[in-house]
């Protein structure tokens, strides 16, 4: 079966094990083993610039099945580098606000909804806390992968026209202050403070009324808290701009530039991103497929909580200021200074002013 392209997978959004990623990248060149592999957006720039990945434009131009217009544009552009398409988005995730219906019911607080802005949502959390002592409003991981959505809502963009980042500007600061302020006011809590590793864990343990996670939490809840009566809604709007922000976590199928069976590999790629394959993935509740036609899919109209939550995550990709979760060639290094000051501010070790100045200083060092 020499013609069967081998497929290698690596990387997962946000939490992925990063140690082997570039090795996998090297492997492509070393041994020409896998013909197709998947690329996490977070690591994509380094890999695409290395020349290990085959540009797909010419294949797509000839394809009868796969059209660029089929794919959600924001996803496709995330895998476009120097004007060339290097990967077909396989699936994606955005952040949604997951909330515990029982808690809101018991506390007689209204559910969070799409009309909420930052302030009205905070009020709802306060009502839950008033009715259910010992419970926190929301789990807040000290990570840019959550907080960034609020900065985007306030109009922040990672790189300005000159390719620099300013976190001391008013837009980033607005999001940063709101996010850390929730913790300082006692409305939110860092998961680690209640003995949990992440927001989903705190949510499943019913120690918080809400969490900010993507569709990955759905599978986790299925195992850990199958009966949890949750709902999901879009992130709240910034009261000043009236916009939401969000991050897209996505993975693409890409082709090995050294592959000996490129045509066959592309056929497999077509198959993997075909409407049938994506429908199957969707129905099993594994991930959200990248085809934009799926927004009208009957799956999303189902009455169960998982489908409803998936629908919210799907819509998150196209509502408000949405950016892919990647930082050009800087990768992890870009987020590190921010994550660092996030936890310092949320645990009361630093003031916002000092924190943002420090982060800016380190970003400037990084980007000089």
């Amino acid at each position: 079966m020499a013609c069967t392209p081998s497929v290698l997978g690596f990387g997962r959004p946000v939490h992925g094990d990063t140690t082997n990623i570039s090795q996998a990248g090297l492997l492509l060149i070393d041994s020409g083993q896998p013909d197709l592999f998947y690329v996490d957006i977070f690591w994509s720039r380094g890999l695409f610039s290395s020349g290990a990945v085959e540009p797909l434009d010419s294949y797509i131009a000839k394809s009868k099945v796969l059209k660029t217009t089929d794919i959600t544009p924001s996803l496709l552009s995330a895998f476009t580098y120097n004007g060339k398409i290097y990967g077909i988005p396989k699936d994606f995730n955005t952040l949604a606000l997951f909330y515990n219906r029982d808690m809101f019911d018991v506390a007689k607080a209204p559910y969070p909804d799409e009309k909420d802005d930052w302030n009205s949502l905070t009020d709802k959390f306060r009502k839950v806390q008033a009715g259910l002592p010992g419970v926190y409003g929301i789990a807040l991981a000290p990570e840019y992968a959550r907080m960034g959505a609020f900065a985007y809502a306030a109009g922040f963009s990672v790189f300005d026209a000159r390719g620099k980042s300013s976190v001391t500007g008013s837009q980033f600061r607005e999001g940063f202050e709101f996010y850390t302020g929730l913790a300082k006011k006692g409305v939110g809590i860092m998961p680690a403070d209640i003995g949990q590793g992440w927001g989903g864990g705190a949510f499943a343990a019913e120690k918080v009324a809400a969490c900010l996670e993507g569709a990955w939490v759905i599978g986790f809840l299925r195992d850990q808290a199958p009966n949890l009566n949750y709902g999901a809604t879009l992130l709240p709007k910034n009261p000043r701009t009236g916009q939401r922000g969000n991050l897209i976590f996505t993975v693409s199928w890409s082709m090995n530039a050294q592959s000996k069976h490129k045509q066959e590999a592309f056929q497999v790629l077509e198959l993997l991103t075909s409407p049938e394959a994506q429908q199957w993935v969707l129905e099993r509740g594994l991930a959200l497929p990248s085809r934009q036609a799926l927004i009208d899919n009957p799956y999303f109209k189902r009455a169960d909580k998982e489908a409803a939550a998936n629908y919210i995550v799907f819509r998150g990709a196209s509502d408000g200021n949405v950016f892919p979760f990647e930082f050009a060639a800087y990768g992890d290094d870009w987020m590190t200074p921010i994550n660092q000051v996030l936890s310092a501010v949320m645990s009361g070790e630093q003031t916002v002013d000092v924190a943002l100045k420090e982060a800016q200083k380190r970003l400037d060092e990084l980007m000089k």
Partner: protein
């Protein structure tokens, strides 16, 4: 001082000395026990916790429902009732599973009959999510829920409900019978036939993974998950078993190569005269000192290029991600040669000399006279090599990257970080660590002498 006094004094002193010897022994035992707690405690506690539904519970306790005799008996009974055995349960046609659950309410409010459901529970974690499995819910029918007993004490009403779950189908045998029982919030759960795996929705729902599991799957639920949820998505093969097999195989092969190569080299270095002996020995010492991180880039390239192109001549390619590559690059270590050299140097020379006088060749002397004497050293070396390979982390991390069924056990465990640590799912993680430590711990207990000898021989660990 009279003679009598002096004798009494000596008598006293003897008694005192005896008393002190006892006390000293007691003190030593107390110290020894204290240190054992320090060294074995964490691992023993991790082992106990690997059985728990929630290994990060607060406060962390020694006990868990999985360790209570009452639950074992219950699990065994339910396993039998489900049509399986007491140890391994199932849910088979014709099974009638009796179940009871007790709640309490404050006097004045009326307890409500609980809602009992056999849910269609789909696993959500990682690759387990795509295993298609029939649902017991298709054939399970829950009888009417009857109130069996009601008592009132101190203003608290306790009610026990009973029901049966019957397999109405004709041929399907299910591995699992999950269960959810729901009551209003004011109704507090007291106890059930089997302790629930979790209590959800602010106390409203008691939930079980599998009520007819039988004892073993009940106690070792996390272990079961490790095997079930780690399989290759490309081939469907069980990954955890593959990792164990790989580790055993590679460690076995490396023991053989190390014994052969190191005993030959050690003998030559210890007893034979040849040009460059001193330089070679210094190189051995240097290689023991220099960390693997210093040399790994070149070694990676050597394997990638097929050992200076040798494998290409033989029709092979890159040796990255191959066991051949791993074995060739690690077939012997400087420290193994060092151990053997030290050992051979410690042997008396007479035997050897008489053999030489009889005209035996060097190779014959080595293989017939010296090697049979090297038993203890070879044993120690074998054990240390096995342990070292089983536990090796850095070099496999560099050269064995994909596919996952090529991993060794240490790499496989590391991959648990993405499978389970993302969700801080410590149950299977601890179960995995316990299982991968087990073979080496057993081996250690059996061959303790060799371990200790190996270490003190040379002062060099594996």
């Amino acid at each position: 001082m009279t003679e009598q006094d002096r004798r009494a004094g000596a008598e006293n002193r003897k008694k005192l000395a005896a008393r002190r010897r006892w006390a000293k022994a007691a003190a030593v035992y107390v110290l020894l026990l204290g240190f054992s707690l320090l060294f074995v405690g964490p691992m023993a506690f991790a082992m106990l916790s690997s059985l728990k539904d929630n290994p990060v519970e607060w406060p962390p306790g020694l006990g868990s429902p999985q360790l209570s005799l009452a639950n074992w008996v219950a699990a065994a009974r339910l396993g039998l009732a489900g049509g399986g055995t007491a140890f391994f349960g199932q849910f088979a046609p014709g099974a009638i599973v009796p179940f009871s659950i007790t709640y309490e309410v404050d006097e004045g409010s009326e307890p409500e009959t609980p809602i009992v459901r056999v849910p269609r529970r789909v696993p959500g974690a990682g690759p387990a999510a795509i295993i298609a499995e029939p649902f017991a819910a298709d054939d399970a029918v829950v009888s009417e829920v009857r109130e069996a007993r009601r008592t009132t004490t101190d203003g608290v009403v306790r009610v026990t409900y009973e029901f049966d779950i019957t397999h109405m189908g004709s041929d399907m045998v299910y591995g699992k019978l999950p269960l959810d029982i729901e009551v209003p919030m004011y109704q507090r759960f007291v106890r059930a036939t089997l302790e629930p795996n979790r209590i959800e929705r602010l106390g409203r729902v008691q939930s079980w993974n599998n009520v007819t599991s039988g004892v073993i799957p009940y106690v070792f639920y996390n272990y079961h998950r490790v095997f079930r949820e780690n399989y290759s998505r490309a081939t469907g093969k069980n990954l955890f078993l593959a990792w164990i097999r790989n580790s055993f195989m590679l460690a076995g092969i490396k023991v053989v190569t190390t014994l052969v190569v190191a005993s030959m080299a050690g003998y030559a270095l210890a007893r034979l005269k040849f040009a460059g002996r001193k330089a070679l020995f210094n190189l051995v010492l240097l290689s023991m000192m220099i960390p693997g991180q210093v040399t790994f880039v070149s070694n990676y390239l050597v394997l990638r290029d097929g050992i200076f192109g040798l494998t290409k001549l033989l029709g092979g390619g890159s040796l990255i991600n191959t066991w051949t590559g791993y074995v060739v690059s690690t077939m012997v270590g400087g420290s193994a040669v060092f151990i053997m050299k030290q050992f051979f140097e410690g042997l008396p020379t007479e035997l050897e000399e008489s053999a030489r006088i009889d005209g035996a060749s060097v190779l014959a002397t080595y293989s017939r006279i010296m090697l049979p004497l090297a038993g203890p050293a070879l044993g120690a070396l074998a054990i240390l090599t096995f342990q070292g390979t089983w536990n090796e982390f850095f070099w496999p991390l560099v050269i064995l990257t994909s596919p996952p069924d090529k991993y060794t056990l240490t790499l496989g465990l590391l991959s648990f970080r993405t499978t389970y640590a993302v969700a801080f799912d410590w149950g299977p993680m601890l179960a995995g660590t316990v299982m991968s430590a087990l073979p080496i711990v057993v081996m250690f207990v059996v061959f303790q002498r060799y371990f200790v000898e190996g270490i003190s021989f040379s002062g060099i660990k594996g």
